[in-house]
């Protein structure tokens, strides 16, 4: 279990306890986090679950593989050094307290 917080650009926040093994795109849609769509269900084809990871958490969220790295080029809001596709971050106790910033497309 990990408590995850999503912070929106308007300053609002959503926090939820997420079961181990679920990815954070699924967790976001289940908890009604805006702007996280996850159209492809997490198979790295749509880039609609883009988040910015709070820098101090970046190492704990794991490595970016080649496919994710490529798909991050397709996000609506341009990628930054702390960009991830949240379908590739898997909940575990290690991530308890993780903060994600949700970009808002134009």
């Amino acid at each position: 279990m990990a408590n995850i917080t999503w912070k929106m650009e308007d300053g609002s926040e959503i926090s939820a306890d997420v079961k181990d093994g679920l990815n954070l795109m699924e967790a976001a849609t289940a908890n009604n986090v805006p702007h996280i769509e996850g159209e492809c269900g997490g198979c790295l084809s749509c880039a609609t679950c883009h988040v910015f990871v709070a820098p101090e958490w970046l190492a704990k969220t794991g490595e970016i593989d080649d496919i994710e790295d490529t798909m991050l080029e397709m996000t609506d809001v341009e990628r930054e050094d702390n960009s991830r596709l949240s379908c590739q971050i898997i909940a575990s106790a290690e991530l308890d307290g993780l903060v994600l910033h949700v970009p808002e497309p134009e």
Binding site: E26, A30, E37, C40, L44, M71, E73, M74
Partner: protein, 406 residues
């Protein structure tokens, strides 16, 4: 009291419509009617990880059941709508209940085409693949050593073939056209997937017509081909395309032609009725098309919520698709209808390549096999309306990112 917006069909288009409607803060109440007993779920994993047993059912659901209640969306599952009464603005369910609508959204999807009963289509052990319930019925039969016969070499059949091999079944695929994927892809893509399946031990027969399925006391036991050859089978999966569920629309007098005809705002020929997803037919680049894909269903559902909220938007989304077979991830962007030539771009790794479809000098679509760069940058290239030359694309040293951004 204003009648609700009624959504008929609880699939991906419905879920996407509801999400956008809620996100826009629209006040009008929603009522979702679904024929299955499940809230909207993802269908693509059915023929992949769900059939393989690697994904729990709960994870198929696009939103948890509680979410609909939290958004004040009324759900009527296990309910089939038989009639639309356009005069009274009501839909009538098979148990005779009338439901008033202010606006009606038809997200009725499509259904799997079946083989006629005269040639064994309704024998025990013959399956089609479309719903959670279909998989739950067939997956106990997917046991190592059994003989699985797949009729139809399209994406559904090939994905199921890959699952069958992974689970240790003997798999035979029959395709009546001269190559698998003929309806949807170029010969080069068919060649790639033929090699992939043959390398994994699938017995693949193209230009091969089924005469009939054979019965052993009401249960399927094999197939007779038109050539007279017999193939043994313990179970049969029929993957020969799908049919749009447009009967209630047609009976209500809405314009239909291979699906429910809709405008660029997904409006049907009745201004109070919209349609989205597999069930509808729309015009793109002066062609009438019907798409069976998550992208199309989700984007059209989303668009209708925006239209009903007063936004001036039209449907122009670029189509994309994907398929997973063994270790190959196929990603497709664009529509290849009417292509005149294809260009093969070699990939960086073994087993990776992409096929670029052109009509004359115009780039239409890309099939990318384990080649996400071709998919991602190709998508940007198409969206930007750029048309790199065949020579540029075929040269593996061409930097696609530079082409896309340049």
């Amino acid at each position: 009291m204003t009648a609700p917006i009624v959504i008929v069909g609880a699939g991906q288009a419905a879920a996407s419509f509801i999400s956008r409607h809620v996100a826009l803060g629209s006040e009008q109440p929603l009522l979702l009617v679904g024929e299955e007993s499940h809230p909207p779920y993802q269908r693509p994993p059915l023929s992949k990880k769900y059939l393989l047993g690697e994904l729990e059912r709960e994870r198929l659901f696009i939103r948890p059941l509680q979410w609909y209640a939290d958004q004040a969306v009324e759900l009527r599952l296990d309910t089939r709508i038989d009639t639309i009464d356009r005069e009274r603005r009501q839909v009538i369910s098979s148990n005779g209940e009338s439901i008033d609508y202010d606006k009606l959204l038809l997200c009725t999807g499509s259904r799997a085409r079946t083989l006629p009963a005269e040639i064994g289509g309704s024998l025990d052990g013959v399956f089609t693949l479309r719903s959670i319930d279909d998989i739950d019925r067939m997956s106990p039969e997917f046991q190592a050593g059994r003989k699985l016969l797949i009729v139809g070499g399209g994406y559904i059949g090939l994905e199921a073939a890959a699952v069958g091999r992974k689970l240790g079944l003997e798999v035979t695929v029959l395709e009546m056209a001269d190559r698998i994927l003929q309806r949807v892809a170029a010969a080069a893509t068919s060649d790639y997937f033929r090699d992939l399946h043959c390398a994994h031990g699938v017995s693949l027969h193209e230009s091969t017509r089924l005469a009939r399925l054979l019965s052993d006391g009401g249960k399927v036991c094999g197939a007779e081909l038109e050539s007279g050859d017999i193939i043994d089978a313990d179970l049969v999966l029929v993957g020969i395309g799908s049919i749009p569920n447009n009967e209630i629309a047609q009976a209500a007098g809405l314009d239909c032609a291979n699906g429910i005809s809709v405008s660029e705002t997904c409006q049907t020929s009745d201004a109070h009725i919209y349609a989205a997803g597999d069930c509808c037919n729309f015009v793109r680049n002066e062609q009438h098309i019907r798409l069976e894909s998550v992208q199309n269903a989700a984007d059209q559902g989303d668009l209708i919520a925006r239209v009903l909220a007063g936004e001036k938007v039209t449907y122009t989304a670029l189509p994309w698709f994907w398929s997973d077979q063994y270790d190959c991830k196929l990603q497709i962007v664009g529509l290849n209808h009417g292509y005149s030539q294809t260009v093969l771009r070699p990939g960086v790794n073994p087993g990776s390549q992409s096929i670029w479809y052109y009509r004359d000098q115009q780039l239409l679509a890309i099939d990318a096999m384990n080649e996400p760069k071709s998919y991602a940058f190709g998508r940007k290239i198409i969206e930007a309306g750029k048309h790199p030359t065949a020579e540029e694309v075929a040269d593996p040293s061409t930097d696609l990112k530079a082409l896309a951004m340049g």
